[in-house]
Subunit: 506 residues, 2 copies
């Protein structure tokens, strides 16, 4: 059942009697599925209703679902051309839009824009600190709303009757103008878990005045509506088989579970895995290197860029593969240090830091070399170690091993581009992930879109309420496990028998 339904109807005839209501002339002929004795109509429509109903014989009713019941949001004299829903996933870097046609029941368009909040800070933490002042929070909110309103305007705001919106906890606070001051200091308190179904004007989004906005609830400070939407899309909470749901963004957010339990954990493993910490790291764009190949004989690297343009830098997806290959070829040690015996001539020092030149200055677009720092590799190993530790810890907590996990759902752009083989070689993912990984793409956005099509309030509630959150900061065990995971692939090589064999075969 969609969040919004349209039905043609012929109002029943009013017969002289003491109990004649225009509203009931409509309700009485609506399909059983949306009937509700208390079916509501808002006052502005009631004030026009008697006139509208006497201007024809057949009409179209637009009903919007609000929790369990529908309300009659609008009436048309003719079949409307456009009744749209928008699913919006506000990411910290991009805002993804899904334009859904309720009349045709199909997705018309799917695209992203950059999140304009970037002008107030590249990363979320900068923006959060900026937003501590109420006037700055307002700026962030207004800038985001105006960017979204611009997109709504492109399809005609009067055509948009429903928005399904998700974002992480910070994004959700920003768009709703909720103070973040206590979100960023111990004990990290968010304002609210649930939100009522809003009208556009309440939030500041310019949609049809009869329309509604659903904002995905939050599961925790590090577990936003985007994760709830993603789980809703992946449906691991419905299945008998046990799965991991892994979302890598600003943080690495991981959920382990099935229909019986949902255990969640988040850690600061994100930016490194997405390429964000590398000086020569880039977002996917023309000129970004997407793969490197090591030429053992010439001690050099070849590469491929997006659009085959002159290289500008490398994107996140290239990093995991690169570091795994560096390790397999013995160019770096299991600790992530450059193997000077082997690649000494390739190592330079920049500002006192050892770097490996990947592409020389004369080949790049800007005329500067593209390199990776030893320190960056160390940071990366902390992130990959954190990821593996989170996965291990979640299994431990419920007394399972990786073998018991049937699927590894990997969400986000990371999920689309990750080279699982390299991730396993690095010990970021366990070997069980090799044949069990499913890339979900933008599962948060897809989950928001799914809500337009199904409006399963009860399921959203269920997911949100069922998640048990495992706090890393208070788990000494995390630090214990992390130490071993900082090595490639792991201190305990027995955990990675396939990688061990691979190394032995070298």
């Amino acid at each position: 059942m969609e969040a919004l339904k349209i039905y043609p109807f012929k109002p029943s005839k009013a017969v002289t009697g003491g109990s004649n209501f225009d509203t009931e002339r409509i309700f009485s002929v609506l399909p059983e599925e949306v009937k509700d004795k208390g079916l509501k109509i808002e006052l502005p429509l009631l004030q026009k209703l008697p006139y509208i109903l006497r201007e024809g014989d057949e009409f179209y009713a637009l009903l919007i679902r609000e929790e369990k019941n529908f309300f009659l949001a609008d009436i048309f004299k003719e079949r409307p051309d456009k009744v749209l829903g928008l699913a919006i996933d506000i990411g910290s870097t991009t805002i993804a839009f899904y334009i859904y046609d309720f009349l045709k029941g199909e997705l018309l368009k799917e695209y992203s824009i950059y999140n304009p909040q970037i002008e107030f800070g590249e990363d979320i933490l900068t923006r959060l600190h900026f937003a501590k002042k109420p006037e700055n929070l307002l700026k962030l909110q207004e800038r985001t709303l105006s960017a979204i309103n611009q997109e709504i305007e492109k399809v005609g705001f009067e055509n948009v009757y429903y928005i399904s919106l998700c974002g992480n906890t910070a994004m959700t606070h920003f768009i709703l103008g909720l103070p973040v001051n206590y979100l960023i200091v111990e004990p990290y308190v968010a304002v609210a878990r649930w939100f009522p179904l809003f009208k556009g004007e309440e939030v500041g989004l310019k949609i049809n005045p009869r329309g509604r906005i659903f904002v995905f609830p939050l599961a925790g400070t590090y577990f936003g509506g985007d994760l709830i939407a993603g789980l809703y899309e992946a449906e691991i909470y419905k299945k008998g088989e046990i799965s991991f749901y892994v979302d890598v963004g600003t943080n690495a957010e991981v959920v382990l579970g099935n229909k019986d339990f949902l255990l969640a954990c988040a850690g600061a493993a994100g930016p490194a895995l997405e390429g964000g910490i590398f000086e020569c790291g880039l977002k996917a764009q023309p000129g970004a290197v997407e793969s490197f190949w090591i030429d053992e004989k010439t001690l050099s690297l070849s590469y491929k860029t997006i659009g085959d343009e002159r290289p500008l830098g490398f994107c996140g997806s290239a990093v995991i593969q690169l570091i795994a290959d560096l390790f397999l070829h013995g160019w770096i040690t299991p600790e992530g240090k450059f193997n000077l015996k082997k690649i000494g001539p390739l190592i330079e020092e920049i500002n006192g830091e050892r770097v490996l030149e990947l592409i020389s200055a004369e080949k790049t677009k800007q005329g500067y070399p593209i390199y990776i720092k030893e320190g960056e590799i160390k940071s990366f190993l902390r992130s990959k170690g954190a990821m593996f530790t989170i996965l291990t810890l979640l299994c431990e907590k419920v007394g399972l091993t990786f073998e018991d996990v049937e699927k590894f759902y990997v969400a986000g752009s990371f999920g689309n581009h990750i080279d699982v083989r390299s991730a396993v070689i690095l010990g970021m993912l366990p070997e069980e992930a090799l044949f069990k990984t499913i890339g979900l793409g933008n599962s948060a956005g897809k989950g928001a879109l799914k809500f337009l099509k199904r409006a399963e309030y009860e399921e959203i509630k269920e997911i949100t309420e069922r998640i048990t959150y495992l706090e890393l900061n208070v788990e000494g065990r995390f630090m214990e496990l992390l130490t071993g995971a900082l090595i490639i692939p792991h201190v305990n090589l027995e955990l990675f028998p396939w990688v061990k064999k691979l190394l032995e075969e070298k």
Copy 2:
């Protein structure tokens, strides 16, 4: 459970962990009775919540009931002085106000103002026709809203968090700005039966922006929210014993029933019974005659006025008693004609109509005589006949006799002032009413007040849905029965054995 509850609370301490919400720090400490996992808070309050909660240790939560659930409407740092509810009964002549203190749980004040709509027409029908033009409907609406807003302002609009409002179908349409154009022509269609719980701004009533307005639903074109509120007060729908609920206003509205059935009927019996059709009729006010006594020897009348002032006219309560006495003394015939043999000298002709002078010109305030017309008595007999017929018909429909009816609840000012003995002598009420009548006063207003204290949405729904409406216009049987009831007390004197005996004793 009141429509609104206030609880002192100490927010639970936020503990470092992934799932900390300011909202849940409140919910977790609220009493079980208002707890709801999805307990909602509107955005403007959410946007201030984190600041408020850090300005103290103890707070007061104001919760408002919305159907089955509560929402958190407001938070106070100190125990508020005033949290008021208003019950408002919009009658066509007066608007009754009940000011209820939610903190003390007591009624502070109860009073009425004149309905300012009178400037657009004395009677409802005139106003309904006036309101056919949308700009006139707006005038009626605005005039009424502004009169009510003035009263709200007297107690401080910011103190008013809840309004429980009832009115007949026309009044409800006027105040909500709903078109009445199809209410006044066949087949007499009202706009809506149910109304959502409004915010003040939606309706145009100036209350606290966090507050709500409950508008009693309508049961039919002639059966408004005032009747639903009255039934809610009288509770006949809950009892095993069978009762009549009689409300005389513009129409006579009658409900027969108990916990198993509710049969309703309305007829144009009202104005005559309230004194509205009499040229010398007056509203209760100083100078209005409230009783007449017949002096048989001198063929004259003595009287008592309200405030013992010089007479201006007579009020509704005096009419029934007067006509009954005129009949008992043989001054009028059972058909309502002047008995010229007896009171010939008292009869005059004004504009070709026979009138009985009740008070001579020199005794009255304005210097004009106070009289009753023969035609007016005939009109009155049609009304009293209609009333008796409605009562008879309702009993007939369910196969009961008046003896099966345990109580006659009589609502409205009519109910307060009616002389049941006279009403029975005239054959307006059956003799069973003599010892079974209970005057309810303004049961509509009291019902609206009761809703502030109990907010029993389910009961209101139940009443509204359970009422079966008996349409008079389509009942040939009504005309059949009416004919016999136009006589005093009735063509069939056996129906009134006590009156018969009274006449024989004369």
